[in-house]
Amino acid sequence: MSTQSNPLALIAELTHRCPLHCVYCSNPLELTARITELPTDAWVRVFQQAAQLGVLQADFTGGEPLARTDILDLVRAARAAGLYVNLITSGMPLNQAKLTALVEGGLDHIQLSFQGANQDTAEEISGTKSHAQKLRVLDWLKEVRVAVTLNFVIHRRNIDQIEEMLKIAESSSATRIEFANVQYYGWGFANRDSLLPTRAQLDRSLATIKAAEERLRGKIRIESVVPDYYAKYPKPCMGGWGRKLILITPSGEALPCHAARIIPGLQFANVKDQNLTEIWRSNEAFQKFRGESWMQDPCKTCDRREIDFGGCRCQALLLTGDAAATDPVCTLSPNRPKIDAVLTTINSEVVGAGLAPPSIRRGTQPSVAADIRPEWLYRPNPS
């Protein structure tokens, strides 16, 4: 019998199609083909079931959710079902008329991503000319009444641009900023050693952000997420496995988090076959890491187990091969040395001086501090 409390958020991963090719993308390496995407009426049913289950917020994400031609219908349907509608977007497919229509259709909040504070960085990271369009979107946002968050995705190539990012935000109508350090899943994991900032860079950025938080209190709310490799304890991933949110993939699979498909042996349900309430309460993939019976040492007896739930299952799998292991970023984990080894490389003199680590340097390069681009693995568009 389930006494699990209801989820608060529905993550509606509407599509894996996207006009950008960001090297930090946390979508799974196995992208969902367009032909398998859920049709409009299936999503409408999901929104209604989510509201019945007690969900308050819908996050429209992807890929690029605006790549869906039915996005206006989806916004209206989620709002009609009683959900607060968040749109997580690159802004690329927008024009002023479309934005106005979405807001009038019930969009509550738009979170606009930025890959850098300038065109060059944005183009390097996203593989696309994208920055100018985002600045146009900021102008259009001043004409509509909607909550606006600017999400600056942070990594070694742009962590020194915080001041310029703040300038962009302050001249916009945004009331919220997220400085979101990349998390290492999907393409982010593949490109990790080119993305992790140095300790010195991280410390500088935190000081800049802290000063800005004070200065902008009451005007703009700033939230920042540090790379958990540099933390002492792991993040309470997703608020705990199967506790706070339910994610639906473009083809209708119900997951406890966006990366969960990499964990072997889990049987996922599909919204085409089962009601959301039934999935939430009794699907075995959701049950797998609920409670404490699955925990290993040291989590099993740790004082923090109800605070961080042992960290991230997917990260444990990626780095230790065992999804039930303590998240290795935890300093109490026997696998913490793996993380320390990565940080040692990142913080070595060579990398600290602005050069790419030896493993990904192209050919022979001068040992002089220079702005050298790493060899990136760019995210493709699914078929």
Binding site: Q57, G82, Y84, N86, D108, H109, Q111, G218
Partner: protein, 91 residues
């Protein structure tokens, strides 16, 4: 930053009241705050028409058994919290 008594608090763009299982909530980006008793009374009055001072007076009348000064400081504290969350604009 202090709350001006003659300012008119109003829900910020994209912030609205909602309901779930008979629980009143204040919905905002990626967040929901539960509203009960005094917090609900305060937020319902943040309509852009009432001043902070008027909201304080009204609640002091509703919660007549409580110390007026405490009612005022609780309201100002809560309004400051909502301002920091960017849930309220003050016009």
């Amino acid at each position: 930053m202090s709350i001006e008594p003659q300012s008119h608090p109003r829900l910020a763009p994209g912030v609205r009241l909602g309901q779930n299982n008979n629980q009143q909530v204040l919905l905002m980006p990626e967040r929901a705050l539960r509203l009960n008793g005094p917090s609900l009374e305060i937020v319902q009055r943040c309509d852009g028409k009432r001043t902070v001072a008027e909201i304080v007076t009204e609640l002091q009348q509703i919660y007549s058994k409580a110390e007026p000064a405490k009612v005022e400081s609780d309201i100002l504290g809560y309004l400051q919290l909502l301002k920091d969350q960017r849930a309220l604009d003050f016009e």
